[in-house]
């Protein structure tokens, strides 16, 4: 059995103006892609932000065997947890290359010498970023920005990469490209927790899936099973109506 990387138990977020989360529990094994799908406002982003420490939460989060209770965002990054938020949060007035280098900031502080090499790896992964290496991040197109956000995250050599809607607002062809890249990342040893509205695509590239509805985990299972589960499609589109749901 694969090694447990992330264990979340009974995570609750009730904080003013964010979509709430009620007792969410989930696990991610090393070397797998886990997707969390669900409609807008179900609390998907809240889940990732709470895991990253951006939002305060109750419940237990265990990462690589360490309790994350009182750990700051920066320490989580240093321990190998990395979030690409829905808003991307790039440094838009800095060059593509600077953005990528800053992604490796915690490694630089540790004295890691392999940063140049990682930069080349990212450029091989996204050749378009290399062409634009000296452009400001703010001048990039939507798809390129998403690539940069992914590249910046990879520069930190994360153990667990959390992606919040990587396909958001992108044209179909680019969505395809990005999702293929994410799927390929698995082979490099990165584990991924993926949040997507594009449910079908997310289930196609992931190993295991959770369906989040109204702040609660409504369904879970191996992705292939979820994809065929008529209830997922129904509840997702709302065609089935709510009455018969438990």
């Amino acid at each position: 059995m694969a090694e447990r990387l992330l264990t979340v138990r009974e995570l609750n977020v009730c904080y003013g103006k964010v979509e709430a989360l009620y007792g969410a529990s989930l696990t991610v094994d090393r070397g797998t892609i886990v997707s969390v799908i669900g409609p807008n406002g179900a609390g998907k982003s809240t889940l990732l932000n709470a895991l990253m420490g951006v939002l305060p939460s109750r419940g237990s989060v265990e990462f690589c065997g360490n309790d994350m209770g009182n750990v700051s965002i920066e320490s989580r990054v240093a321990q190998g947890l990395c979030l690409v938020p829905e808003t991307r949060e790039l440094f838009s007035q800095m060059s593509v290359e600077d953005n990528l280098e800053l992604g490796a900031f915690t490694r630089y502080r540790r004295g890691d010498k392999g940063i140049r090499k990682s930069l080349d790896t990212v450029f091989t992964l996204f050749p378009r970023l290399e062409q634009r290496r000296s452009q400001f991040a703010g001048s990039l197109s939507g798809g390129e920005r998403q690539m940069l956000a992914l590249g910046r995250a990879l520069m930190s050599q994360p153990t667990l990469l959390m992606l919040d809607e990587p396909s958001l607002g992108l044209a179909p062809l680019i969505v395809k490209e990005i999702l293929h890249t994410i799927s390929d990342l698995r082979s490099t040893g990165v584990s991924i927790l993926l949040i997507e509205q594009n449910a079908r695509a997310a289930l196609q590239i992931s190993d295991y899936g959770y369906v989040l509805e109204n702040g609660e985990i409504a369904l879970e299972g191996p992705s292939s099973e979820l994809a065929d589960n008529p209830r997922v499609i129904e509840s997702y589109l709302g065609i089935g109506g709510g009455e018969e749901k438990g």
């Binding site: 920066e74 808003t87 949060e89 800053l102 915690t106």
Partner: protein, 345 residues
Amino acid sequence: MDFQTILILAQDAITNSAIYALLALALILVFGVTRVIFVAQGEFVSYGALTLASLQTGVMPGTVWLLLILAFIAACMETARLLVSGARHKLPGALATILAPPLAIAALVKICTPLHLHLGWQLILTMLIVIPLGPLIYRVAFRPLADATVLVLLIAAVAVHFVLVGLGLLFFGAEGVRTPPFSDAQFTFANLNVSGQSLCVYATTIVFVAIMAWFFNKTLYGKALRAVAFNRNGARLVGITPHLAGTFSFALASAIGCLSGLLIGPITTLYYDSGFLIGLKGFVGAIVGGMASYPIAAAGALMVGFSESFSSFWLSGYKDVVVFTMIIPVLLWRSLTTAHYEEEE
């Protein structure tokens, strides 16, 4: 007004502008990184010059006591913080990093003060005393307010200004000082006398700006600081600690302030409260740059320097009025060129 006068006024203007530009630089950086409008920045200018003057007369400067007190308060705050968050094991290390350097500096000053060292050594000693004040003030006054609004931080900055001015009077008295110049040399170019000190000001400014440009554009730590200023959330997500960035920006602010004080100390008489006005003139420059652009702020500093210098010739009594009233048309210009309303959430 003859050509000779214009040259003399211009020389004056450029010397002052250089100082204002340095101060504006620090103000913009501190604001970008911490959102603190650090009006107390000018106090480091006074502290620099007055600390050096004390050392010159062989008296232990009061700023050393301030250094020790701040370090003690910071140590107490850090202890409380670590105990509350249950990280007791980190305590010895944290206390050592906070307390050891100030204690070492205080001991060094205690030993060196009666020795009447060469000016160069005294300058270094002054900087050793004044520069750590910046990060310590950040730790004690501003870091606990990290989540506050710009407005609250501004009020805190004004409070810090009050404390520092009051302490300045307490430590150094109401007497003004002039510190010895770095160089006594006088040069004559085309009938214009240029003092060695003025050249020192120019040279130091150029070197300092060059170092800063290198630091911010070429080193990862420099880029990290800029990243915090541009996008705080993004910076946290790549693992840059805002507190560390804040500490560093305040260190830079105190360093620039202290250096400015040492540079102009020989040119103008500085009192315990002179720094504030000098700092505010740097502010006018920073506002011209919209609290964001370094080159425009430098141009603004030149504008301040020139209008100050020339108005002191034509309207001597109104020199400060002119400089500070100038901010109104500047703001009008900014207001008209700012396309969208900047909403604060």
